[in-house]
């Protein structure tokens, strides 16, 4: 039952094709495919909507029929059309927020790790304070006053993702910065930006991939949850998270209006998580860490 794994002799550097192996492992592939399918569905969906997603076409919670393939929602709008056009906002907002948060967090993490000393302490203190606000609470705080603008939502979620990302990347970069090849680069006088881009960043791409997958999942969860609470995309526009809360009172009569958008959100986030976990597993196998 209890078994121990063989330990590598010495500290083996990760093989160069680790990133490639991550991208070709079955798990991460499945995750990537799910993500791509959901992104395509969200982007192309609106063009296939048979009706306007905001037009009232039938009685509330009407059964399928009369040209409404899945029936009508709480206000009598076409469920199918609302589902097809309900992912576009979520998708672009989540992707933008993820990339913003990941880029900013990585920059802060690497700079803090490399500079060390007072810069590191200051940056990490700021990160600690930012971590004190769960993303969703911070978003609610600002939205309560400024109103739910989509751009602000993206910025807020990106800021919410930043501190965690900065911490992880700092943690990943610190051992790399103590490695001899980085010290060597310093002793011959290469510039800091060059050292960070050429010597450090390539060695942290694996955690970067894992974290990006995770953060994409969290952005989708966060944005969909905000919509569900009524602080995200505003009615009458259609959005999966919003649809769940709009139609939850009619769950007994018209469950599809809740189920399908809920499943759409879940497929999106599960894709992100599959990608992240698959990548973590490949790294774990390679570097002796555990998944």
């Amino acid at each position: 039952m209890i078994r121990t794994r063989p330990r590598e002799q010495g500290v083996q550097a990760p093989p160069r094709n680790l990133t490639r192996r991550i991208l070709t492992s079955p798990r991460t592939r499945l995750g990537l495919i799910m993500l791509l399918v959901m992104i395509l569905f969200s982007v192309l969906g609106p063009f296939f909507a048979p009706h306007s997603p905001t037009a009232v076409l039938a009685k509330p919670y009407a059964d399928p029929g009369d040209g409404l393939l899945l029936g009508a929602d709480s206000l009598g709008r076409d469920i199918l059309s609302r589902i097809l056009s309900g992912g576009a906002n979520l998708t672009w907002m989540a992707i933008a927020a993820t990339f913003g948060g990941v880029a900013l967090g990585t920059a802060i993490g690497l700079i803090a790790a490399y500079a060390g000393g007072i810069v590191d302490t200051l940056l990490m203190r700021v990160v600690d304070v930012m971590l004190t606000f769960p993303t969703i609470i911070m978003a609610i705080l600002f939205i309560s006053m400024v109103g739910p603008s989509r751009l602000i939502l993206v910025v807020l979620v990106a800021i919410g993702l930043t501190p965690g990302m900065a911490r992880v990347m700092r943690g990943a970069a610190r051992p790399v910065i103590r490695r001899e090849h980085v010290m060597w680069a310093r002793t011959i006088g290469l510039s800091s930006s060059r050292i960070l881009m050429r010597e450090v960043l390539p060695s942290v791409t694996s955690p970067l991939l894992v974290e990006t997958g995770l953060r994409l999942m969290w952005s989708v969860v966060g944005l969909a949850s905000l919509s569900f609470l009524g602080f995200g995309v505003q009615p009458p526009a259609s959005d999966w998270g919003l649809m769940v809360s709009e139609n939850k009172d009619g769950l007994a009569i018209q469950p599809l209006a809740v189920f399908i958008p809920a499943v759409c959100v879940a497929l999106f986030t599960i894709g992100g998580n599959l990608f992240a976990e698959g990548a973590a597993r490949v790294i774990g196998r390679t570097e002796g860490a555990r998944s």
Partner: protein, 335 residues
């Protein structure tokens, strides 16, 4: 004698015994307390800036576009919005520190009164959830680690992958559909607790929100338990214990468990912190009268003092749990 000199040699380089352990711990705790105060102050600034000091006319946002100028002037005076920002902040901070959170704009009642029952309800829900989450996570995490890569572990990992990824409101909606409305109609789909009643007087109302919290919490915590157990089972001291010919039971419970538990304890604290954020969605979904749903209502009603109070409260609680986790981690390391 040769043995004696060897003893001396061997003792020479030993680290001092643990007499100074307590002194060594005092400094990190003091430093943590100090940074804690600074952080909480930063939080208060952020909350204040995000609400009262926002550019634009706060009174208009609260009252809506149709408000008359007398109403606006009245509100500005009530909230002290006509004062300079710094004195507004100092007033506000002074009030917060003395426990005076102001009056709700919507109901006119003191915020502290409105919130006390809500806080009690939320805390009850969280505590009951933790009572289930911690032992369940330990058992599940341990089993998954011991049967690593076997069918049980794979099934567990697959399930946890899906549960982790699925937003709380989706899980909640599915649970409501399953037990409340569509499939089995055995539980109330909303968890209204009449004012004045303790939550445990209505156990049927608590089942579904608790189920969602426990499912999400156990998924998170048991994975950490599993990983730290696997780490320990792969360690050299467990290998040496096997080689010494010890029984499996002794190895698991005496050698592995204490070391695997150590990293899980701070994790439980972090999880409690995240439960606070999660409570907003879950309480709103089940219409449970806690501070999470109070926040959603307050934001929808532009109830500025309520929003400020709830967010300060949540951030402070979240922060305290995080600090606790940190502290437990340090204590553990120094051992």
């Amino acid at each position: 004698m040769a043995t004696e000199t060897m003893t001396e040699k061997a003792l020479e380089a030993a680290p001092p015994p643990s007499r100074s352990r307590r002194a060594a711990l005092a400094w990190p705790i003091a430093r943590r307390a100090l940074t804690g105060v600074v952080t909480l102050w930063c939080i208060s600034v952020i909350v204040f800036v995000a609400t009262q000091a926002m550019p634009g006319d706060v009174a208009h946002i609260i009252l809506g576009p149709g408000a008359s100028s007398e109403q606006v002037a009245q509100l500005n005076q009530n909230l002290g919005l006509d004062q300079p920002l710094l004195s507004q902040y100092l007033d506000w901070l002074g009030n917060v520190l003395t426990g005076n959170m102001g009056d709700s704009i919507v109901s006119g009642q003191p915020v502290s009164e409105l919130l006390s029952e809500r806080i009690f309800n939320s805390a009850t829900l969280t505590v009951i959830a933790m009572v289930f989450i911690i032992p369940l996570s330990l058992v599940i995490g341990l089993l998954a680690a011991v049967f690593r890569d076997k069918l049980l572990d794979r099934a567990y990992l697959g399930t946890s992958l899906i549960v982790t990824a699925t937003p709380d409101f989706v899980i909640g909606s599915l649970v409501i559909a399953l037990f409340g409305t569509v499939v089995f109609k055995v539980l109330p789909p909303v968890s209204l607790i009449p004012p004045g009643d303790a939550p445990w007087e209505h156990p049927r109302q608590l089942v579904m929100p608790l189920a969602v919290m426990v499912l999400v919490g156990v998924t998170y915590l048991s994975r950490l338990v599993r990983v730290s157990f696997i780490d320990v089972l792969e360690s050299e001291y467990v290998q040496l214990a096997i080689i010494k010919g010890l029984s499996m039971r002794r190895i698991l419970f005496l050698h592995a468990l204490p070391n695997a538990l150590a990293p899980s304890i701070p994790a439980a604290s972090i999880m409690a912190a995240y439960t606070i954020a999660g409570s907003v969605v879950i309480e709103y979904l089940f219409a449970y009268p806690g501070i999470g749903s109070a926040l959603v209502d307050a934001v929808a009603g532009h109830d500025l003092p309520m929003v400020q109070a709830i967010i300060m409260l949540m951030a402070a609680a979240f922060f305290c749990f995080n600090q606790l986790a940190d502290l437990l981690g340090t204590l553990n390391k120094s051992r």
